[in-house]
């Protein structure tokens, strides 16, 4: 009942299944260096081998996109996704499939029908690799999204004073998010002073400065004043070297200085406030 292109290869594989799986597992395990347990691997590979052999006997030819290979594809998707999420390299993932060829060659032997078998395995290997890359891209885009979410907390320092501690590099997309969040917070809290703290920004170039200036001008249009704080010595050097002009925008070395400036402008008497709250 074997289909034409593979001859009796499938039957011979079935007969030598134990030996085949043992060789295959040994090769794969060597490349994975013990990061997946033997038992787990054994189960995984047996499932795949079984699916591959039954698909080959069911299918008319070597077209791995046909429905006969559906089960194999599903198993390989699981395998490559799992590998991608666990942080295995592309080579370590692809070898799980390609090592089957070597195992078959050694335990069953090479016949004229081996070429057709080899083609199928190549196709399946490529499919695995494709899925692996897709899974990796998903991981990356998820992380980028999470980064954007966690990157912009606006904190209230005092009645009428909010602070925006910036951490990490500011690109256009992030700057836009930061800008909108800050301006919205100004409206929501009715704050007249915003302190933008750039202690956590590793480098300030003309683009970052441009984003900062735009945010500050927009805040001014809404009737709020911005103070830039946390300018480190090297950053100050870069700003001067690049010829960036902050004009009449208040800049302070530390967040503490900026807060004092804001409190002074609002006219807050800190000692009076403390005694009022019984501190």
């Amino acid at each position: 009942m074997t289909s034409e292109p593979f001859g009796d290869l499938i039957d011979r594989c079935r007969a030598a299944e134990e030996d085949l799986v043992r060789r295959w597992r040994a090769d794969v395990a060597a490349s994975l260096r013990g990061r997946i347990s033997e038992i787990e691997l054994d189960k995984e590979l047996r499932e795949i081998l079984d699916a591959v052999l039954s698909s080959m006997s069911a299918a008319d030819g070597a077209d791995t996109r046909s429905s006969a290979y559906g089960e194999v594809r599903a198993l390989l998707v699981d395998l490559s996704r799992g590998r991608a999420l666990q942080g295995f390299s592309p080579r370590e993932t692809a070898i799980s499939v390609f090592a089957l060829k070597k195992a078959v060659r050694e335990s069953v032997g090479v016949g004229p029908e081996f070429t057709a078998f080899s083609d199928v395995i190549d196709e399946l290997g490529l499919f695995t690799f494709e899925t692996y890359t897709k899974a990796r891209e998903e991981v990356i885009s998820n992380q980028a999204e999470q980064l954007l979410e966690l990157a912009t907390p606006v904190v209230k320092l005092w009645q009428g004073v909010v602070a925006l501690p910036l951490v990490g590099t500011l690109d256009s997309a992030r700057a836009q998010v930061v800008m909108e969040k800050l301006l919205q917070t100004l409206v929501d809290t009715g704050s007249e002073y915003a302190i933008i703290d750039i202690t956590g920004v590793p480098a300030v170039d003309t683009q970052v400065a441009q984003h900062l200036l735009k945010t500050i001008v927009a805040a001014r249009l809404m009737g709020a004043e911005c103070i830039i704080s946390g300018i480190r010595p090297q950053i100050a050097q870069t700003i001067v070297a690049l010829g960036i002009e902050f004009g009449d925008i208040a800049t302070k070395a530390t967040l503490a200085d900026a807060l004092l400036l804001a409190l002074g402008r609002i006219g807050v008497d800190v000692t009076a406030e403390m005694s009022k709250r019984g501190l």
């Binding site: 800008m179 909108e180 301006l183 919205q184 100004l186 409206v187 009715g190 704050s191 007249e192 735009k214 001008v217 927009a218 805040a219 001014r220 249009l221 809404m222 009737g223 709020a224």
Partner: protein, 121 residues
Amino acid sequence: MERLPILKIGQMLLVSIQVDLRDDMVVALQEDLADRIVETGARGVVIDITALDIVDSFTGRMLATMAALSRVLDADTVVVGMRPAVAITLVELGLSLDGIKTALDVERGMRLLSLAGGSAR
């Protein structure tokens, strides 16, 4: 034609823009404002744009013109209640409205004007 109301509160005039602005309304508003400042001898103008959610360069220039107009007639102008999206749009359009005072809401705007006016008189 529909005209925007200009309210007198003490020594100040309050223009509250509550509807979508058409260009002819803007021109009429400028004329009315100049008339009212002369008529009442107001020392300050508060322009409330809280309800304005779409701006273009014409609206931006309108604000600048009204401020310049009031200044010539010896009245300070404060633009209040600008929305974040509007502010971002104006900045992207390159209109930073230099020389115009701004405040977060009408109350703060009026306080700002009375502070500035108090020292002048």
